[in-house]
């Protein structure tokens, strides 16, 4: 269910990004409580068309601060350009309550070391976790490795600097730039250069041995970086269950990956004790076909995030444009997200 929330503030942490502050009315306070790392699904009306997107909260539920998301401008991005330019203070957006399985369950009395990895706007859920740990779990410590293109693309640089100064024994931030600008600042970049690849992860862990011996690893960045970091960590014997991953920038379409889907595949849907036989035109998702045919398909975010539309693939093959809801074990069981699935075989059978 979506709730109308008013925008109480807009600011630009860097030139290419906008932080949006929401005003949550008292009656929705409890509903909008969240774990650090979770996201909002927001319905936008852009040029008369509806578009849904999910954005991680960068605010912390442990601070007395309003809900905030931060949207980085993407070239040709419909919603990101709308937020970075057209959205105004006082506007209302339709927002679903916070959700998502990528979060830190922080306990006041815990004594832990957090290893955080972020690239670009992947910093948003990471910042929420970071602030929450600093202010709530006062014995725990954090090491953050934060990758960006160049000096001017580091979102929340000032805020991170200030936190590092305020908590010198508990927070260490290492910036790494893949393509530092020579002339953008007075001083030449003296920090680390390069992307967050496997070598960088190994270097980072070796440079920052934990004091508190209970550890957690949180990663948010583009898919390839995430898998690379996980691989590097597991190569160092970090148990898989301690590694939490969130992919941002979602859809594979952004990575110039097009799915070669089948035209006019047949679809058999088993739902609520009924069976429907439908056809899937090329490029349409299973959910779109079901909505067009007025079958009562469950769905919510339509962006591969919430998992409401998950169903079991009984036979045939599909490819998902994006998947942030299902984990490997779900995929192994044959679960798919109908809102993201394009047919890659002639005949498909699914069951809800």
């Amino acid at each position: 269910m979506f709730h109308k929330l008013k925008i109480s503030n807009l600011r630009q942490p860097i030139a290419d990004a906008t932080t949006v502050t929401f005003d949550v009315p008292n009656r929705l306070y409890d509903a909008f409580n969240y774990y650090p790392g979770q996201h909002l699904i927001i319905k936008f009306q852009v040029n008369g068309k509806e578009a849904r997107r999910s954005y991680s909260l960068n605010s912390s539920p442990f601070r007395d601060e309003p809900l905030e998301i931060t949207v980085k401008k993407v070239k040709g991005g419909l919603v990101s350009n709308y937020v970075n330019g057209q959205l105004k203070i006082g506007d209302e957006l339709e927002v679903m309550v916070p959700q998502g399985r990528f979060y830190a369950d922080i306990k006041k009395e815990e004594y832990k070391t957090y290893y955080l990895f972020a690239a670009g706007s992947g910093i948003t859920p990471i910042l929420s976790i970071l602030k929450s740990v600093l202010y709530e779990a006062v014995e725990s410590r954090i090491h953050l490795l934060y990758g960006n293109t160049h000096q001017d693309s580091i979102i929340f640089k000032e805020e991170l600097d200030a936190l590092e100064q305020a908590f010198p024994n508990r927070l260490q931030v290492v910036h790494t730039l893949s393509n530092p600008k020579v002339w953008s600042t007075w001083e030449q970049w003296k920090g680390r250069k390069g992307r967050i690849d496997e070598a960088a992860v190994e270097w980072f862990i070796n440079q920052h041995p934990p004091i508190a011996q209970t550890t957690s690893y949180f990663i948010c960045g583009p898919g390839a970086m995430n898998t690379g970091i996980r691989k590097a960590l597991m190569g160092l014997d970090v148990p898989r269950e301690l590694i939490h991953i969130e992919q941002f920038g979602g859809t594979k379409a952004d990575d110039n990956h097009t799915i070669d889907s089948v035209d006019n595949a047949s679809l058999e849907v088993h739902i609520n004790g009924q069976t429907h036989s439908l056809k899937i035109p090329k490029g349409k998702t299973i959910l779109q076909v079901m909505k067009d045919a007025n079958t009562q398909a469950p769905y919510s975010c339509e962006s591969g995030v919430c998992g409401t539309c998950a169903c079991t693939l009984v036979s045939g093959t599909v490819e998902m444009k994006s998947n942030m809801a299902l984990e490997d074990k779900d995929l192994k069981k044959g679960l798919i997200l109908s809102c993201q699935s394009l047919a890659t075989s002639e005949s498909i059978v699914i069951r809800f």
Binding site: E109, P210, L236
Partner: protein, 379 residues
């Protein structure tokens, strides 16, 4: 009246029960964090009846395992090791990775065709780092070390031991012929400071000591006497520790339950680990860390202290003119304590042994400590 019976200090049965109940269920000191530097380095430590190995993994994380092979229970590793790739039992070469998982068994196909390697892991214990020290707990899911020491940090010295340097040859190891609780009680006995140590710890103003318990842990601080404080730069034996600003001056001397003491002064930071070996035997290991300084600075300060001491503090040892081998004539407060503890232990077997009374304030700490032991043993 004493709270614990004499047997608590003399019987093997009591000792074994303590090992199981207290030492099998509490966080215990295991060393300094720099004792384990690199992935594959390990140390072993005795926690009651259980020997525990702490090893650093390739993820730079410490892991603690009970030091026994899952095959037939042989002790897996000896003392200390460096840069091991894996942990191998000497008996039949069963090999575990640094996460404690069994990775290879010789002649597996022939001898253990049904053994599933990935189902076997060394028994886990807990390990953590707190104030630059290693701590182990024999149980795998121990409460956080910060909960165990909750409220203690604020009552202890401001020293950051991770910054201090262990001075070469400063460590001291001695087997004392006394029960570990006699050693602990001696450490907590405020009443004896002005008497047994009248000429060795006379730089402290014992009458103004502040002490008490936080949970099961004993906290203690006492200021310097004015004569020492006013001439601190002359008298202190080593370079002043940076965190020991004027407001903290004096000595913090806590006893962390069950068997670990600290002595945190203006110029040194020492650990005091009392390891129970038997009902009447305790090994004490003392290690000292100092503010980083050059050899020249070290020599200069200790010379200055040595040369000024007699003139300002005007002391002789308690029984100065007697036999130089007499522990009471060494001028070393540790030797005085060892002597007192051993004499106390000896008397426990005397049929006339009896405690008439204990001091209202200065020995209240001993009564509290015995009460804590009783509580643990009866739970």
């Amino acid at each position: 009246m004493p709270i614990l019976p004499v047997e608590a200090y003399t019987s093997q049965e009591w000792f074994d029960k303590e090992q199981e109940i207290i030492f099998g269920n509490s966080w215990q000191y295991a060393g300094l964090m720099e004792d384990i530097q690199d992935p594959g380095d390990y140390i072993t430590v005795q926690c009651g009846h259980q020997n525990i190995v702490i090893v650093k993994g390739r993820d730079q994380k410490l892991r603690a395992f009970h030091n026994l092979c899952r095959h037939r229970g042989t002790q897996l590793l000896r003392a200390v090791g460096k840069k091991q790739k894996a942990l191998t039992c000497p008996y039949h070469d069963w090999t575990y990775n640094l996460s404690g998982e069994l990775i290879s068994v010789p002649e597996k196909e022939k001898e253990f065709p049904d053994l599933e390697l990935d189902k076997i892991c060394l028994h886990k214990a807990s390990v953590d780092i707190w104030r630059g020290m290693l701590w182990v707990h024999p149980k795998p899911n121990a409460e956080p070390i910060t909960e165990w020491f909750k409220g203690c940090r604020e009552q202890m010295g401001p020293h950051d031991p991770t910054r201090l340097i262990e001075y070469p040859d400063s460590s001291y190891e001695k087997v004392i012929n006394a029960n570990w609780k006699i050693v602990a009680e001696n450490f907590m006995d405020v009443y004896h400071l002005a008497h047994l140590h009248s000429n060795t710890l006379q730089m402290y103003d014992h009458a103004n000591a502040k002490f008490g318990f936080i949970g099961d842990h004993y906290m203690f601080w006492e200021p310097h006497v004015p004569k020492y404080k006013d001439n601190l730069d002359q008298l202190m034996p080593f370079k002043r520790i940076k965190e020991m600003t004027d407001e903290y001056l004096g000595a913090f001397v806590p006893w962390l339950f069950p068997n670990f003491g600290l002595s945190e002064t203006e110029s040194s930071w020492s650990t005091f680990h009392a390891i129970p070996l038997g009902p009447d035997k305790t090994k004490v290991v003392v290690r000292t860390k100092l503010e980083p300084m050059t050899n020249w600075e070290y020599q200069k300060q200790s010379m200055k202290s040595y040369n000024s001491w007699h003139g300002i503090m005007g002391s002789d040892t308690k029984y100065g003119n007697q036999d130089p081998d007499d522990p009471m004539a060494t001028g070393d407060f540790m030797a005085e304590d060892v002597y007192a503890c051993e004499q106390q232990q000896k008397s426990l077997k005397n049929p006339l042994f009896n405690v008439t009374m204990t001091a209202k304030y200065g020995e209240s700490t001993i009564r509290t400590f015995q009460g804590i032991i009783k509580k643990w043993m009866e739970q």
